[in-house]
């Protein structure tokens, strides 16, 4: 069973990963985007860290951790990734309800729902060269292990390189979007890798 602290550590580890990788994410967002994905997520996750540290409003369950994180992302990120990641975490958190501890199965189910909400909100499908190309295979591999999920997401992010974008601003480029890795898929892989690290006790 995973307790509230596990989810706090997931968000902390994700924040650290975004801090470390922000420049690379912005770099990836330059040739096929508007060069802000790294600074967007950095702003958002710094706010998540602050909100969780403040512990306000009282965060007493896994579901509340993710919902607070999601709301914070929505209120601080902007852009496409703010509402999408915000919805991912809020919806996942809502699915977890107010249980003090959740099973790995429950978390997997909840993440499924969260990813579904992202797909519905953004109208994208796998293959469109978006964060879903990392999230969908990642969450599908959760049945195996957290590490498998992280690896599948990482693999999915890399597999966006040859794709032509059909959603998000990279789609404006048409065929010129081919040959670049999607920044959102890359950050999604970071998020699932942070989860694996925490599950492995590495963080």
């Amino acid at each position: 069973m995973r307790d509230t602290d596990f989810f706090r550590r997931w968000m902390d580890t994700a924040t650290a990963a975004v801090e470390r990788e922000a420049d690379r994410l912005t770099e990836l967002d330059s040739p096929i985007g508007d060069a802000d994905h790294g600074s967007n997520l950095l702003r958002g996750f710094m706010a998540v860290r602050a909100a969780l540290a403040a512990g306000e409003p009282a965060v007493a369950s896994p579901g509340e951790v993710l919902q607070l994180a999601g709301r914070t992302l929505i209120s601080t990120v902007g852009g496409a990734s703010g509402p999408l990641y915000g919805t991912l975490l809020r919806r996942t958190g809502k699915e977890l309800g107010d249980a003090a501890e959740v099973s790995d199965d429950a978390l997997r189910e909840a993440l499924y729902a969260g990813v579904g909400a992202v797909a519905q909100l953004g109208g994208a499908a796998p293959g469109d060269k978006t964060m879903l190309d990392a999230l969908v295979p990642g969450v599908a591999a959760l049945g195996t292990s957290y590490r498998a999920a992280a690896d599948a997401a990482e693999e999915g992010a890399r597999a966006t390189v040859p794709l032509q974008a059909r959603k998000g601003r990279a789609s404006y480029l048409g065929e010129r979007s081919i040959g670049h890795q999607d920044p959102g898929a890359t950050s999604s892989a970071l998020l699932l890798n942070a989860l694996a690290e925490v599950a492995e006790g590495a963080a």
Binding site: T26, S30, P31, I32, G33, D34, A35, D36, G38, S39, N40, R43, I74, S75, T76, V77, G78, G79, A80, S81, G82, P83, L84, L121, G122, Q164, R166, K167, G168, R169, S171, Y172, L173, G174, R176
Partner: protein, 332 residues
């Protein structure tokens, strides 16, 4: 760059806006710029917003005859829903609020969330999506056409209608009609340097240009060897007119906006406009009104865009109506 730090660029600009324009109510912390008398007169409220870096859009268009409020996001990043919710509350005089949204995934999602929240707060909200950029094919395989220069047409004309006291549904319908009557095409002669990145977002050597760009420093649909202004005008105006041909009345007059992306000298913009006017005349399109200048920019990008709006008597009358904002002023 002429900044204190990448992190404070938007807040600093809002402090400067507040200092320069006492007639605006600028909430630097919460990033909402409101016309001081927004709630007087019982008008429909007009709220727009989007990433910063396109100045004077949108904050420069807040004032009598145009926007009631603007919500500036981080540079090239859509604002967050909290901003639009706050703006809606600040301008709603019971007549409802129109959100003017440029069609980008981020803007659409954030405004949508804001509309839901504002609705829950009891504000009647309508939305209009601006999607005028003909460089992007509007299909299942893209996020749809971008919103660019026509935003100015929509904000000006809908703003005039709201100022006259038109009800929400009518202002919204008018805004949609303006959008549907408008098309744009843009060209970049240099990449853009954002404060956060500090270097050009892509590599565009001198002697080459990008056709079909947006306003976020993204590359366009196609790269070409540099062309003289007259050929650029042929391509840009041609693309706009071909697409506009579907809009009735097919032979009506247009309002023309020859817009600088920020880094192109006004001297060049006027020279470019000479070529735009030539193409329009060759194609038999009467130009009823013209605006040349930096209105919907992309930071320091060199380049320009052409926007045309097919305008009937009503649209022209509303276009000519008085406007008193930081960046657009005439009449009265």
């Amino acid at each position: 760059m002429l900044i204190n730090s990448a992190e404070t660029v938007v807040a600093d600009a809002l402090r400067g806006l507040a200092a320069a324009h006492p007639e605006l109510d600028v909430d630097v912390e919460r990033r909402v710029v409101v016309r001081r008398d927004a709630k007087d007169g019982g008008r429909v409220g007009l709220v727009s917003g989007g990433g910063s870096g396109h100045e004077p859009l949108h904050a420069g268009f807040v004032g009598p005859g145009m926007l009631s409020a603007a919500c500036p996001g981080e540079v090239f990043t859509s604002p967050v829903p909290d901003q639009m919710v706050r703006a809606a509350a600040a301008v709603d005089a019971g007549q409802g609020v129109l959100f003017i949204v440029k069609n980008y995934t981020g803007d659409v999602l954030n405004f949508e969330m804001a509309a839901d929240l504002a609705g829950e707060d009891g504000v009647r909200v309508e939305q209009v999506l601006v999607n005028d950029d003909v460089a992007v094919t509007d299909s299942l395989y893209t996020a749809g056409r971008r919103g660019t220069g026509a935003t100015l047409f929509v904000e000006k004309i809908a703003g005039a209608a709201a100022e006259e006291g038109a009800p929400l549904e009518q202002v919204a319908a008018l805004a949609r009609r303006v959008n549907e009557s408008s098309r744009s095409f843009g060209v970049a002669l240099s990449a853009v340097t954002t404060p956060a990145k500090g270097s050009p977002t892509f590599d565009l050597p001198v002697g080459e240009l990008e056709l079909g760009i947006g306003i976020h420093g993204e590359p366009g649909r196609e790269r070409r060897a540099m062309m003289p202004a007259r050929e650029i005008a042929d391509v840009a105006v041609g693309a706009v007119l071909d697409d506009l041909a579907q809009v009735a009345p097919a032979d009506g007059p247009v309002i023309a906006l020859v817009n600088g992306m920020g880094g192109t000298p006004l001297l060049e913009l006027y020279g470019f406009h000479a070529e735009v006017a030539r193409v329009l005349s060759e194609r038999g399109v009467p130009v009823a009104r013209t605006l040349v200048g930096n209105y919907v920019t992309s930071l320091d990008m060199a380049g320009c865009s052409v926007s045309l709006c097919r305008a009937d008597e009503e649209l022209l009358r509303l276009w000519d109506a008085p406007v008193q904002t930081a960046a657009l002023r005439w009449g009265r």
